[in-house]
Symmetry: C2
Subunit: 175 residues, 2 copies
Amino acid sequence: MSEKNDHDSEYKELSGAEGTKKIGEMIGDIHIAMMTTVAKDGSMSSRPMAVQDTPFDGTLWFLTKKSSEKIEEVEADQHVTLTFAEPKDSEYLALKGRANISSDRTKIKELWNPLYKAWFPKGEDDPDIAVVKVDVVEGDYWEATSGKIVMLVKYAAAAATGGKVPVGEAGHITV
Amino acid sequence: MSEKNDHDSEYKELSGAEGTKKIGEMIGDIHIAMMTTVAKDGSMSSRPMAVQDTPFDGTLWFLTKKSSEKIEEVEADQHVTLTFAEPKDSEYLALKGRANISSDRTKIKELWNPLYKAWFPKGEDDPDIAVVKVDVVEGDYWEATSGKIVMLVKYAAAAATGGKVPVGEAGHITV
């Protein structure tokens, strides 16, 4: 019930730096995303993933196990959607992006923090750690106003994402 | 970092009525799902949707506008994933299902409640209201234990869903 074309009158657009800031604040507050990938059978798999605590610049980084299902799914289909929800504030964010997997040791060391020990007890040198890099292509942010959830921000990445997705055609804002 | 194969030792399975109850409680507490559908370009679109406040029996119902993008997407591809997040309790739920659209007036009247007036000011007789019925096929539920999010419940619907998806093959619990 909350898409752009469902409530034209309430729809506001925070473009440029203001939109990026809003998205960054929400990611920073929530820091757990549901990462959705395309499964082999055509269904979509979602699981919670810890987001790196760095300012939002259009790219999000995750550490995961090489043996996890999502790696296989991303290798078969790069499309990823990340959602963030904060029920207490009625805030919702959905980011579409393209994912790339690596096992870049320098990047792993840069992203590593002691909290990851819960998943990787062997530490940052565990050879089973993989890096998932998600280049955000576009995003939508919703907030409740007068009891109704409305879309407040539409975000689209600049050509920096490699131009694989024709964001301009979707009529989104270029930040 | 939170998939079944990422933490075999912590993974617990709440099967049957216990699993269904846990899922039902979480849906009842959150009552806003992020509904993810497959977009024409192969990406995945998510948006917040109000869930009906009824006991969870494997089917979830939504009211939406016929003119919304999700209707077109579901008509092209029935796969839907619904995620629920409650950051304050570190609870996360992902349900995979198949969606069907109708404009069954009797069902609309049954599902209608005054809160929908925010989206449909004309009321329950608005000809632009559509019903989205999602038959849940399988689901995963995560919770934080000792600072680490682990999967606690795997849910799979019985053959009642029409047998379109071979849930047995995925090794999930039949409720």
